[in-house]
Symmetry: C2
Subunit: 241 residues, 2 copies
């Protein structure tokens, strides 16, 4: 069943009005008509089953019926990434949401090539990915920061995992398993990688854990998903508890 994010309060027998854009999406993209069912969430009140009561160009009226899932806390994973070029950046952001990132923090590094980040486009990608992957809250997107500022302002109780092409060995699992129970961040570099100076600076910090990612060279967007999967399975919310 289709899931739709909207900001209004959700409760039994509430009637919510969507925006014209959302009405267009429901009517023309999702091909819904009066009586069609949809799941709603707003990041606060859990997930609710609703029905289309009326549909026009100005907006759709949705009758909210019953709650299907209670609200869960926002994931705590702080995902720091150097922006890639448009198409790959869209995928990067969608996949970070699918993989459980709670905060998306763009980071400008020495080899970052993207001059200007379109935050509205990122936000749209995040919402769409959240609707599709079944989560109950929308990950936050922060304004871009330079790497040196990110590290200077870092809250030390959070461990920052970073993908280090010079890390010894090939396997990150042991290092990651040791981090279970900590607040975590992950840093993925740009297509050109981190500079030597950046790598040295990162490795010198007490809250940083460098990890290898196998014996081959990975594109930045491949490394991102691989690192997220390994981090979540070894130390994050893929663990069965």
């Amino acid at each position: 069943m289709q899931r739709l994010y909207l900001p209004q309060d959700l409760s039994v027998q509430a009637q919510v009005e969507t925006t014209p854009e959302q009405a267009h999406y429901l009517a023309n993209v999702l091909r819904m008509r009066e009586g069609a069912q949809v799941l709603l969430f707003n990041g606060r009140d859990g997930e609710w089953l609703a029905q289309v009561a009326a549909l026009s160009r100005k907006g759709a009226t949705l009758s909210v019926n019953e709650r299907t899932r209670p609200q869960t806390p926002m994931p705590d994973l702080l995902y720091c990434f150097a922006p890639l070029k448009k198409g790959r950046l869209d995928y990067l952001v969608q996949k970070a949401v699918e993989m459980g990132a709670g905060i998306l923090q763009p980071v400008v590094t020495q080899h970052t090539q993207v001059p200007k980040l379109g935050l509205p486009r990122l936000q749209a990608n995040v919402i769409e990915a959240a609707e599709q992957c079944g989560i109950l809250s929308i990950p936050a997107i922060r304004e871009p920061v330079k790497l040196e500022v990110l590290l200077k302002d870092w809250h030390d109780e959070r461990i920052l995992v970073f993908c280090d092409e010079d890390a010894p060995g090939d396997n990150p699992l042991a290092a990651l398993a040791g981090l279970a129970g900590n607040r975590l961040g992950l840093l993925v570099g740009p297509e050109g990688g981190f500079s030597e100076a950046e790598r040295e600076q990162l490795r010198a910090l007490p809250f940083v854990v460098p990890i290898p990612l196998g014996p081959r060279i990975l594109r930045a967007d491949t490394a991102a998903v691989a690192a997220l999967a390994l981090l979540q399975a070894a130390a994050g919310d893929w663990r069965d508890e």
Copy 2:
């Protein structure tokens, strides 16, 4: 340094002629001139350092100087995947190569939507990914087969891992770690997932190991990279030995 795949034999002081297409690639895409260095591999003789001796529209002449790496065996991982639509399929195939697949086996399932697979395009993607990710051989691409035929003809000593949205729990690591040392295959479904009948058939086979992939729904191409990373790290060639 740039890496180039070509099929000719490579040895000390050999002179190899490229095709006109490769000459165009060297001259106009890689912007090389006489004297430029390039790394060559052919899947048999390891990796060699070479220099551009001459460059014309008809072909480039490369002087092969010294071997930089000996040949390694082709990876054994049999990667079975339902084709996705063009753009996502290109990425899927590139990422499979980066993540160490040895054989790429397209599989037609009930919910597979792609009518015709362009094997030359896949081949070009595989070669480019192999050149970029530093590997010494080109993964093989097989003709598409129906899922039932794949399973009927399966060689039982190879374990087939499949991403099962109904698998109990969220974490695949324990199941995967138990497979270390076996010949392995991985099966990733289409965007619409496997049908209930297909999932029942798969689960009933003695060589099949179903794995979960976390608490959220993953797009097929996200699941592919996540599953490959976990399989390689827990049971494959990311292990330090």
